[in-house]
């Protein structure tokens, strides 16, 4: 069984010759640049480049050697872009860690040590304060209210750092031949790799509301101003469906998984009631998943942080087959409970190792115990792809990452 078959078996709820593993196939299932740098030195692989392909979160793209070394089963089509040495330049992060940034990203270092991201028009769209390890959004285009017309939405979206500083392949989305390139590169990746292929689409809805209006305002809108929320969501859907159409045409017959995103949970529960989700978001999520199912061979994957237990029945009905990151320490998100209640309907892509406490601050033995317990809860009968709960953060010691892989190896 090859890597791709292993991933597809898991999604089809079949056990395979070992659990499939993802580290790095999405910008929220990967490894931070600093943790990557520390890890490669700890295992005597200093020649691995630390290429920060998601500059917002400072996430490294794992290279081919790293995929082989840790026997990773899935890759992001993003890795086929920015594939020449001249696409990258050397830079030291504020803590001194030497990494590479994509050629287009040149943050401005302020006298107080903050790094600022400035767009082409000279506007500041994000800041990484001294001591922080990722960029925070600073520009909320609709913070003061909804405009009468949303016709300018496509022009406003790049002011949001997630779009204005988009990870690959979307950093090339403005290239004349982008969609042809995406297809050609995905075909070439399929030819040279037996790994499953991910395409990270996004099409976030709730989150785009929070990006444009700011979280506190948009939460109030959900309760008090649903007419404007619906108007915004319709305008977003128009953009998202255009993108989705092109993605499905370009790689729908090549990629295996289409990754959507919408963080719907806090640690303690969903941001909104299931009723509000059903009313505002579910029908639109369904349109997105239906489109993928009708126009591609890809499986539907939703990245959604936090405690989303109460929304899972609706997310299943909305057409998502795979859920990530399975934030096991959030309320109601215990792996055994999730597997028991939703294991027949969902593939859990994540939940393999806690990235907030255990991996960061536990001992290697505690990491192994955590990994084993999560695998034993989530893996039986398939429906599980091992991934940490979200990205491996900068403060995770290499010894704990090594311990994590040693525990994984007991199950493959």
């Amino acid at each position: 069984m090859n890597a791709r078959e292993r991933v597809l078996a898991a999604i089809n709820h079949k056990e395979s010759d070992g659990i499939p593993v993802d580290i790095g196939a999405t910008p929220s299932s990967g490894i931070s640049a600093i943790a990557h740098y520390n890890l490669k030195h700890a295992i005597s692989k200093p020649h691995w480049p630390t290429q920060v392909y998601d500059v917002v979160q400072q996430i490294a793209q794992p290279g081919d050697e790293m995929l082989d070394h840790f026997r990773i089963d899935v890759v992001d089509v993003a890795r086929t872009f920015d594939d020449r040495p001249e696409d990258w330049y050397d830079i030291a992060l504020p803590d001194g860690t030497p990494v590479q940034f994509p050629w287009w990203f040149k943050p401005s270092v302020q006298p107080n040590g903050d790094w600022e991201a400035i767009d082409k028009e000279g506007r500041r769209i994000a800041t990484m304060p001294l001591g922080a390890n990722f960029f925070d959004q600073t520009c909320f285009p609709y913070v003061d209210g909804y405009p009468d017309s949303l016709d300018d939405l496509p022009n406003v979206m790049p002011l949001v750092h997630w779009a204005g500083m988009a990870h690959s392949p979307w950093d090339h989305a403005g290239d004349d031949d982008f969609w042809q390139q995406l297809r050609a590169r995905a075909i070439a990746l399929r030819a040279r790799s037996d790994r499953a292929i991910m395409v990270v689409i996004g099409c976030n809805l709730f989150e785009w509301g929070t990006f444009l209006r700011r979280l506190d305002n948009f939460l109030v809108d959900l309760v008090m101003d649903q007419a404007n929320v619906e108007r915004l969501l319709d305008a977003l859907m128009e953009q998202h469906l255009k993108t989705l159409e092109k993605v499905c045409a370009a790689v729908g017959d090549i990629a295996d998984v289409a990754r959507f995103g919408d963080d719907l949970g806090t640690d303690q529960g969903p941001f909104m009631s299931p009723k509000t989700y059903r009313q505002l978001f579910k029908p639109r999520h369904k349109l997105l998943t239906d489109y993928v199912k009708q126009h591609s061979n890809m499986h539907t994957f939703l990245h959604s942080c936090g405690s989303i237990y109460k929304l899972l029945p609706d997310l299943i009905e909305a057409g998502f087959e795979i859920i990530n990151p399975v934030q096991t320490i959030a309320r109601d998100m215990e792996p055994m409970r999730l597997k028991q209640e939703f294991g027949k309907d969902l593939t859990f892509w994540g939940g393999g190792a806690d990235t907030r406490f255990t991996l960061n601050r536990g001992t290697p033995k505690q990491v192994k115990d955590n990994v084993r317990a999560n695998i034993e809860a989530l893996a039986p009968g398939g429906g599980f792809v091992f991934n940490t709960v979200h990205n491996i953060l900068p403060d995770v010691p290499p010894a704990n990452i090594i311990a994590m892989f040693e525990a994984i190896d007991e199950y493959r």
């Binding site: 922080a132 506190d216 939460l219 109030v220 008090m224 806090t266 941001f271 909104m272 509000t276 900068p394």
Partner: protein, 213 residues
């Protein structure tokens, strides 16, 4: 009549009706109700109910935020009257997000919920250097200092803030509570904080409990 006006105010806050909340306070004031009564029976009572509805799962963060914002709107009208009539706060809290951390939405919600429980809150904002917490404690003499951090990488600044408060000889006179994504009970204990709460509703319960000690 009095009951009706207070019920109306209670309802605007519970429903998160930001537009109507200031008018509801003004109507109660115009009818001659005392600021203390309006605060306790119209506003604090409503936020108590919001907390209960959140705890039992009927309200979500969206509803809690909306009620908290309507409370803010109502307080905007009531605050000058509270000051004039020298109404005593339930306690004083100095709150801020620790040095290096720009995230303040969770902290803002805690601030609003504490105000909704009758606390006077001095909000230092995000990215607060330990020396600013020290200065604020010296200036405002609070009962409680509340520290927030969203990141595992900025969480250690909670420890340095506690160290700075101890070095200034202020630690014994205050209770310190902590919250934010990477924080838990174990960490609170590790840095010798006096309490941890996982969300805004429980932060209010914690602050109230600490005031009785």
């Amino acid at each position: 009549m009095e009951e009706e006006l207070l019920d109306e105010l209670f309802a605007t806050i519970l429903d998160g009706d930001i537009q109507s909340a200031p008018g509801a306070v003004q109507a109660a004031l115009d009818a001659g109700l005392g600021p203390q009564k309006i605060l306790n029976e119209g506003m604090i009572a409503a936020m108590d109910r919001v907390g209960e509805l959140y705890e039992c799962g009927d309200y979500y963060v969206a509803e809690m935020f909306t009620s908290a914002k309507s409370l803010q709107a109502a307080l905007g009208v009531l605050r000058p009257h509270l000051q004039q009539s020298d109404v005593q706060a339930a306690g004083t809290v100095v709150i801020g997000t620790v040095k290096g951390d720009m995230h303040d939405i969770g902290k803002n919600l805690v601030t609003m919920m504490l105000e909704g429980a009758g606390f006077k809150v001095v909000d230092l904002g995000p990215d607060v250097h330990p020396s600013r917490f020290v200065a604020a404690v010296q200036e405002h003499n609070p009962d409680i200092v509340a520290l927030s951090a969203l990141l595992t990488t900025t969480m250690p600044a909670m420890q340095t803030t506690l160290d700075a408060l101890a070095a200034a000889g202020l630690r014994q006179q205050i209770k310190v509570i902590v919250g934010g994504a990477p924080v838990n009970d174990e960490y609170a204990e590790h840095i010798h904080a006096d309490g941890y709460a996982p969300d805004a509703s429980q932060a209010v319960a914690l602050a109230k409990a600490l005031m009785t000690l």
